[in-house]
Amino acid sequence: MSWELIRDILITTVPLLVIFPSLFAFTTWIERKALARIQNRIGPNKTGVPCTRISLFGLGQPAADGIKMLFKEDIVPKGADRLFHLLAPIVALIPAMLVLCFLPLEFPWAKFVQAPVQAFLLDGAVIFFFAITGLNTLAVFMAGWASRNKYSLLGGMRAIAQMVSYEIPLVLSAVIVVMLVGSLNAADIAAAQKGYQWHLFTPWGLAAFVIFFIAALAETNRSPFDLPEAESELIAGYFTEYSGFKFALFFLGEYIAMFAISGLAVTLFLGAGEGPGVAAVPALSVAWFIAKIFALIGIMIWLRGTLPRLRVDQLMAFAWKFLLPLSILNILIAGFAWHVAKSGAGTGLKAVVWIASLITLYAVARGLNRISRPEAAPREYKYAE
């Protein structure tokens, strides 16, 4: 290992390890503020600069939370598996951090890098992304099992079932982009969308994006798919028995995973770092990338403030009977459209394909929605008349 290689690795990884955890703190503040406003509350507004009365809209709250978490007592239940209880938050955080390096963030200082250490230039970047995010499931199960608590175990079991089910539509909708671009390389996918040829702006790309986003919500256990950590049912599910710093690690891992999967959505469908002014100032591309990630996270927060939690049967029916058939159909349509475009068809034919695929996708989605919806019986009272 030469000194240059170590320097290059540091140049490429340290920014990721600094930027995203600090964005995490900011995101928790945004989330608390936004949810509060949605519920006509104010949200954190007291904590600011210590020892003064400057509150800065409560921006000191994440720091205060962090300090509280650090100094809290670390409680391990009596019957718990101590090793796994310790390992679980670490295993949850590592894959989330690891996949950040597959996002095509072109930092301005990347030109000093000489060795091929930028992971998003890997030929299989997208498939690595999915492979490594899958490890998160293991961490969740580890936490649920090691706590020796029925709620935790239930949360862990729910998490595995949910994550395994939603990984399929997630990957299948990403496959469309890989198919259209012809590469698993994140930088190639970003380059293919140059000139505002974002995949979002095609019918199949739009459908794939919606499926991807829904599946991403489920993968990161966000509301309305937060069954594994349902506070009101499972008392926070798999991290019922976690406190203090371990809980903070879980929390951090979850938010980093949100950033990562939003980043992948931005790469695949929203033209990566493309935006006004990038041509003149290349450094702006990172800013645009992060802004797009924040737009997606904003929608996630908005949805959390809007939708109630799904039932378990609804969750499974939605994944297997709605998202999966729709994404398979979408692959067929995208393949057909790609062939039409490649055969040098005129604008008229292309427009026909566009409209036809839009109508087909919508009609099939409606039909699937009607078929797949589980029936809910009215509540029956056993003892009252």
């Binding site: 406003r37 949605i38 006509n40 908005w302 809007t306 056993k382 003892y383």
Partner: protein, 254 residues
């Protein structure tokens, strides 16, 4: 034919309206000045500032909660606020709510007098509010309108087990109090109860009248029968005067 996902969009529009509105319309901020309250409560005194401004400030009286607040159940009685004579308590300890309660946080014991006879009142009625999930199913199923939702929220206590177990006497509240906290709902409930009572009474009256009529008819028929018999007896009696009781005894057996 509704748009696919239209419901989600509609819901998101509602939350967006609340989000934006909370920045422009100060009256929306429920937790800030208690300024937002329904129109019918407008004349109630406004509490100033955020809660709790001063140490030991108590806000969970009837003036600080809105009409729509629902927290944990309470038991109604028809007496005056403060004193709770057991004969005005609406609950009859039928235990429907106890059995219907999803988290099973209600515990009821029936009341018996010294002879062991069941008098329709609860001897014990405990709700563990640390378990209660505020679902209102007990309110829905109660056939006697005895259990309704309270809006008292200051239940914090240093005693984790005893302090959160509300006993019968903690739960008993007067109908007047109910009118104060949830005027609309209480009025509607009273109206419905009155209607039901009136309907019942009307039915009873009708039944009584019918019974009376029936009785009268029966009496009439009997009288007629008697008269007939008497006539017959008289007619017979002209020939056989020796056994007049035979007819009477025959009627008695009928």
């Amino acid at each position: 034919m509704s748009l696919l996902g239209g419901g989600i969009v509609k819901g998101m529009a509602v939350t967006l309206r609340n989000f934006v509105g909370s920045y422009f319309n100060k009256e929306r901020l429920v937790t800030n000045d208690y300024a937002w309250r329904p129109k019918e409560d407008a004349e109630l005194p406004q509490s100033a500032g955020q809660y709790p401004k001063e140490e030991g400030e108590q806000l969970s009286d009837t003036t600080t909660v809105t009409n729509y607040s629902r927290n944990f159940p309470m038991l109604l009685h028809d007496g005056k606020e403060g004193d709770t004579p057991m004969d005005t308590v609406r609950c009859v300890a039928c235990q429907i709510c106890e059995r219907e309660c999803p988290p099973q946080c209600i515990y009821i014991e029936k009341m018996y007098d010294e002879n062991g006879k069941y008098i329709k009142s609860p001897a014990k009625f405990d709700i563990d509010v640390s378990v209660c999930m505020s679902c209102q199913i007990c309110v829905e199923v109660c056939p006697f309108d005895a259990i309704v939702m309270n809006s008292q929220f200051e239940l914090s206590t240093p005693d984790r087990f005893g302090g959160l177990l509300l006993r019968r006497d903690d739960l008993l509240k007067s109908n007047d109090y109910y009118h104060q906290i949830h005027p609309g709902e209480a009025a509607a409930r009273d109206q419905r109860m009155a209607d039901e009572k009136a309907a019942k009474e009307a039915k009873k009256k009708a039944a009584a009248e019918a019974a009376k009529k029936k009785a009268a008819e029966k009496a009439k028929a009997e009288a007629e029968a008697k008269a007939k018999e008497a006539e017959a007896a008289q007619a017979e009696g002209a020939e056989e005067k020796s056994e007049p009781e035979g007819g009477d005894s025959k009627e008695a057996t009928e």
